[in-house]
Subunit: 442 residues, 2 copies
């Protein structure tokens, strides 16, 4: 705090870098590093109280010090932690973002990476927590696993975001096989992104996921030991799926007076998918989360998930699934819905074992992105559905778990209605010429 | 050009990075790299013609590619070469500057550095051109020479600015000894910055000199093999000194009608310094540039140089010597005027053999900077003189070559007048208490 005070006048000079010794900025870093939260908040307050051009110069000088960008990220993290909304935040975000542009490097984590990086990694995965040292080591096996992270080049020991990759034969459909199986995969042809975690609360709102996935993909494409690996896909959770089912069941109970609504819900939950005769078993599965109750629903759960991902929309017309939005916006395609893909506690309680592969076609992903040739936010979000839907045809629906040709036909029709509702006529013309007619209609 | 066209629509999207493959930006780099100047100008024109937010996004995406910052610098260089003043220039300058903040690294050049870096270095020195491979190798001798350069971390093979350092016993006073002497210096205690050259026309106006000198100094301070090296100084040319003398001689001839002017000039050139009896020899020296005529002026040339550096001021009140302004603004002190320091063609024609040591006191230089505690440009430039002058005393004047105590006294008086003219009363009070009284006044 006293350091900021001693710098504040000089920071108002255009050439502040000539009157502020690097040692003074480094003394700030040292003071910050050992400060308690109260002191940190005082430091932030004093930084925020100097004129904006001066605080910008401070941030700029900080980026030039060893680990300077890391210090800025730490300050931003504290701002969030204290829920402070200060003018300083804008300068911080812009300075950090600008320095990450040319400064980010993709790094590979290995068993012999520095211990503190390994430790950070060990506690990083909140979706599939790493149960033990042994499980952690498994993720770093040279033969069939990869872990990549992004770091600013000043501080390669400060991983900002990390992605876990399994090298598998075929596009993997079970997370347990990836996490728990010690047998090495032979002849892998696919790289499966099975977990991506931000390690930095200070980067909230600065999305590095797309950059990490594309960088990691490029690393693997350039790795001569992985020439056979040509398929890239995620194996992703569906965090809100069971919640959606529960909500619908509640409506089912409470909407007795609404004939249309009951018909809709029955259509989704009972008639088309689950079958009326299985409805009480389904209720038990949803309540007990017992994986042993799953087998009976190997067909209906994918169908329900399909409805969830496509028929349901958030208020801004994107899908209600943030994971789906993330990958589709990245240019990935919804490729396969996987039944019994995660039978662990988390997988059952969030999505009744369902997981999704979002496929990254390295040649097409840049064209796939919903933002292509559009610039208004509205079209962007509508198009998440539109573009993805337009690529659906009968064969894809079958792979997605819709077995009955009649159901596929109905779904395609329903999809058409959705699309007609949200897209303009030019796009509809394209759509009609692109959508294939189902092979058999019973 | 066609690439820019194909990108321009997508660049208008907020998330352009998700619909433009790195390969497309890299294709631009490739096309740029092999283009002739006409094509380059067309490319620049097409970049300049897209909306500003789109061209900014292009620059931002470029910084993320391998050697991307180098490409931007090359584009900026072409803008200068073609003397184009386009809106694009602002975006280029800002993007490059922001990425150099955390991206610059100081590197040491060695005999075994990549050949193309050595080649760039060999032709870099425009002040003291490197005459031969052998002379170049001399500058890289581990024992008593150093060469440092700044490069963006993406491209360590692209040196942006380079500084040559000689490790000497005592602060060096002869550039020939540094450049031509093959005998290794024993027990060096001083690091002499004897040449600093920008290697990048594309960075014109982006001053990296201060950063290079401070980074190189820090490198040497941290080098355990150089613990005895504690003095840091430049050995600098005075490019306009002889031109100034010539101008004054011309005035001498033409200002016959102006009594006051003649008195002034006579005061500077003849009476006080050169002595009337030597004036025609001096004229011959200035015209012939024959070093053999130098000895007679070993006292008067330093005095004239002193006048040049202090009595003369540019229209903005800085000194007329850009080299002096550069070092003093960096926080260095004018420390010694060296007679017969450069007797080569360049040294004679520019400054009649005179060179200057600007001393970098690593503890004081940040406080020395003229910008300290001031923010308006006017004070900044006035203060180049003010601060430097305030540190002058009798002893320093003697070291600067003013032998006669009477002359020193007169000079101090004259300096006081200069200072009184340009500084306010608070500073004058400080000055009177700081300026030491000459030890002997005859």
């Amino acid at each position: 705090m006293s350091i900021v005070k001693s710098l504040s006048e000089r920071l108002q000079l255009k050439h502040a870098e000539k009157v502020i010794a690097p040692a003074e900025i480094q003394a700030f870093q040292h003071e910050w590093g050992k400060a308690e939260i109260e002191t940190k908040l005082q430091i932030i307050e004093s930084l925020d109280s100097i004129p904006e051009d001066a605080s910008r110069r401070f941030l700029q000088l900080m980026t030039r010090q060893p680990n300077g960008v890391s210090t800025l990220i730490a300050i931003r993290s504290t701002l969030f932690k204290a829920k402070l909304s200060l003018p300083l935040a804008t300068g911080l975000t812009e300075t950090i973002t600008a320095n990450l542009d040319s400064g980010l490097q993709v790094q590979r984590m290995r068993k012999d990476s520095p211990r503190h990086i390994i430790d950070l990694f060990s506690s990083s995965d909140r979706v599939h927590p790493i149960a033990s040292e042994c499980r952690m080591i498994r993720r770093l096996e040279e033969v069939d696993r990869r872990v990549f992270y992004l770091a600013h080049f000043q501080n390669p020991a400060h991983p900002l975001i990390v992605v876990n990759v399994a090298l598998t034969q075929g596009v993997a459909s079970s997370i347990q096989k990836i996490l728990d199986d010690d047998e090495k995969e032979s002849g892998p042809d696919s790289a499966i992104f099975y977990s991506i975690s931000s390690l930095e609360p200070g980067l909230r709102g600065i999305d590095l996921g797309h950059r990490l996935i594309t960088s990691a993909t490029a690393e693997m494409q350039n790795d001569v030991s992985l020439t056979n690996v040509t398929q890239f896909s995620s194996l992703s959770p569906v965090p809100g799926f069971r919640r959606w089912i529960l909500k619908m069941m509640d409506s089912d109970q409470s909407a007795l007076g609404n004939v249309k609504k009951i018909f809709e819900i029955a259509n989704i939950l009972s008639v088309e998918t689950i079958g009326a005769e299985n409805y009480s078993d389904f209720r038990e599965l949803v309540a007990s989360l017992d994986p042993q109750l799953l087998p009976k629903f190997s067909n209906s759960l994918p169908k329900l998930l399909f409805k969830y991902l496509f028929a349901e929309k958030g208020p801004d017309n994107s899908t209600v699934c943030p994971v789906c939005n993330f990958h589709v916006r990245n240019g990935a395609e919804l490729w396969r819905l996987n039944f019994s893909a995660n039978t662990a506690q988390y997988g059952m309680s969030e999505s009744l074992s369902m997981m999704v592969n979002y496929r990254y076609y390295t040649d097409k992903m840049w064209q796939n992105s919903p933002a292509e040739n559009r610039k208004d936010v509205f079209t962007w979000t509508v198009d998440i559905n539109g573009r993805a839907l337009m690529r659906l045809d009968d064969e894809k629906l079958e792979r997605l778990g819709v077995d009955h040709p009649n159901h596929r036909y109905e779904l395609l029709n329903e999809i058409l209605k959705q699309v007609i509702f949200s897209l303009n006529s030019r796009v509809i013309n394209e759509l009609y010429s692109e959508a294939a007619i189902p092979r058999t209609v019973l």
